[in-house]
Symmetry: C2
Subunit: 249 residues, 2 copies
């Protein structure tokens, strides 16, 4: 198998209301089955998910967690308002309203104006489907779309790109029934394909002032579905790590 992955050149500063499908279509020639990957930052910007940091009133709980983390209580209040569970207090690991588990609910203060925060898209799978459909409309090409963010990991230092939303690509690939080179059934049964593609895209997008929030992966033979990323999020009961953290709180 051979794939190519490239970042789209000359993407402007994204503003509320921008048509991200058009931004891509005007700057590169897409092909059927390309995977088009967007940093969540620009999807958030286009969807107007930017808020004034100080335009919220911190609760006592936010003040407490802010002190613990040497953070701004307003910022922590945004984190709490976008979470369903606190899994760890310092660092502040939460389960977000979207179902993903990450530090600070994936709320960004980088790559946006000082004094503002950027929430993740309200429904990243829906955002991905919308961009995918709009790309089809503008170019006639049927692509898959992934929306990414950076997440830390247990046990390993270093954050990596993961998917927080997707459309037209199966998030996980169930390999039960597959056989190895010797005819044995596989013990490893589920591959996190969409997160592997997200990592691949993130590696070329960069994290700081590269200005390259869109990547195209071409030539990858992927499984297609429209279930979105949520199938990846483990239920509490099925996740012994989450359970151990909750028990310790």
């Amino acid at each position: 198998m051979r794939i190519t992955a490239y970042t789209v050149d000359d993407v402007p500063m994204i503003q509320k209301g921008d048509d991200l499908a058009a931004v891509v279509a005007e700057r590169t020639k897409l092909e059927d089955d390309d995977v088009v990957v967007f940093a969540s930052t620009i999807v958030s910007k286009a969807e107007g998910r930017r808020y004034l940091l100080n335009n919220i009133t911190p609760t006592a709980r936010a003040e407490e967690l802010a002190a613990l983390n040497a953070e701004d209580p307003h910022f922590i209040q945004y984190v709490l308002d976008n979470s369903t569970k606190v899994l760890w207090k310092h660092p502040l690991l939460v389960e977000t309203v979207l179902g993903n588990v990450c530090i600070n609910a994936g709320i960004d203060r980088s790559n946006t104006e000082t004094g503002y925060i950027l929430l993740l898209p309200a429904d990243p799978n829906a955002s991905a489907r919308k961009i995918r459909d709009r790309i089809l409309e503008l170019t006639g090409k049927r692509v898959a779309v992934i929306i990414t963010d950076m997440n830390g990991r247990s046990f390993r230092e270093g954050q990596i790109g993961v998917a927080v939303g997707c459309a037209g690509i199966a998030a996980i690939h169930d390999k039960r029934g597959d056989v190895d080179l010797f005819g044995h059934e596989l013990k490893i049964t589920i591959q996190g394909i969409v997160d592997e593609v997200a990592a691949c895209a993130n590696m070329i997008m960069g994290e700081s002032n590269e200005g390259t929030p869109i990547a195209v992966i071409r030539g990858y033979a992927y499984l297609k579905d429209d279930l979105g990323i949520s199938v990846t999020y483990r239920k509490d009961r099925e996740d012994f790590v989450k359970q151990a953290l909750l028990d310790k709180l």
Copy 2:
């Protein structure tokens, strides 16, 4: 940035003593700064890390953990012998003698003969350096080498490719001091570059009978060092997840 990633065609069944650098050099034309990625399976095979499953005597502890996991006690004994700590009993999550945390110590029964197991390479960073140096000798090209395996993650379903050894590429990229598009210093400070490259390679290598255990990533501008993967492994005290699991045991 534009990268290409491809799997090397016609790789044979790897046997003990095979020269993996020669296997690559005979089948593809490498360039300076390519990242050559090897599935740990074939490095293990080449290094003779294949053992007869039943050629070990399970302890009572192995019998107990085997019963809990509906596993073969011989297999579990191999897992214990290659681990320094049990972090969870079912599933059997361990810290391996190499320092990485994974289920079953990364010991494979797939893609090898029935009745045998494959241990990870004894020193995957050294293996990576050795292959890198031998590629230079054979081809005159200075490449980086990564050795991969599949690992599960906390919170997310689906295993993904990670690095278990590397040479010539920095495992993590410290971004402290970098600024974003608005001139702010980054909050996200460390990127797990080598694991992003590993995920990218794993995505095209496959998991079952594809027969493509070697991938080449070309065109990626990476940071170079020879520290290996171990800088990625979090110390117990710095890892609140590991600590919570150990406390619960």
